[in-house]
Amino acid sequence: MSGHDHDHHHGHDHGHDHGHDHGHDHGPFQPDIEDRPLTHYQAMTEAVADLLVAKGIVTPAELRKMLEIIDSKSPAAGSKMVARAWTDPGFKQRMLEDVIAAAAELDIDAGGIPIKAIENTEGVHNVVVCTLCSCYPRLLIGLPPDWYKARAYRSRVIREPRAVLKEFGTEIPDDVELRVHDSTADLRYLIIPARPKGTEGWSAEKLEALVTRDTMIGVAVPQP
């Protein structure tokens, strides 16, 4: 939704009689965020959107639709794929060969940029970063969390991954190899976490719940 679509906007027809000589008196309450001026970059965002519409480059409907698509993307698609890979070795093989095609089998749109699936095993744990920017398989796991895009994670995880994972509460035993994969604009990664022991016979739904976003980035492992 646009920053201007205030649901509680009731126009100027409400015949209020509060004096206007006091500027903007909000009494003891914190002002709503809408009451502050837009920041420079918020105003720029509104202005660019308005100009693109005015010039006929995008329509308001296209903009609205795109916002809905962005909101609809979540880790659920990735979780579904991983849970299927856990229970269907043929699917896992196809997913390791071609994530986008495997996603299509489940009616999931993984976009057009190549994504490589990497499997965690007993001997190898994998974790994903984008040191240069924020490349991320967002169509499969939603928009990236703040820390994924921030300096600390991008700088440190390739040099001291065990220490960084420990900050996430994830301890990788010393005898397990830790591999870090650096994404680019042309190739993203999705981790297939190792299926936890004791989950044999679980329903797809129950398995999917174990496959959180962080397990598909590799900073966490599924917790049954």
Binding site: G11, E34, A49, C133, S155, E167, D182
Partner: protein, 110 residues
């Protein structure tokens, strides 16, 4: 070895701050604008152009701006470079957006 500011892999840094925020509507709008400009139908700009614009911001501004502030800054500069928008149009439209926002804020005053 010297390298550009965005190329930070392996450098020392503090602990990973794990707090997350829900994206604000304007941030999602930036994302939507970028996706529409790069889609097959329009192809007005590319992701590489977005990144180039961000990477050229330089160390001070890169760290000072939030993620989507960097994005909209880069998108806007790219659109100006390509002649899709002019600086004058942008300035006017920003004033209008600000004025519209101020009106809306007045309207919610109890």
């Amino acid at each position: 070895m010297h390298r550009r500011h965005h190329d930070m892999g392996g450098l020392p840094a503090g602990p990973v701050e794990q707090a997350e925020h829900d994206y604000a509507p304007w941030e999602k709008k930036v994302d939507a604008i970028m996706r529409l400009l790069t889609d097959k139908q329009r192809k007005i700009m590319t992701v590489d152009e977005l990144r180039r614009g961000i990477e050229e911001m330089g160390p001070g501004i890169y760290d000072e701006l939030t993620y989507y502030e960097r994005w909209i800054g880069s998108v806007t500069n790219t659109l100006i470079e390509k002649g899709v928008l002019t600086v004058d149009e942008l300035g006017r439209a920003m004033e209008e957006a600000q004025a519209r926002h101020a009106e809306a804020a007045k309207a919610v005053c109890p």
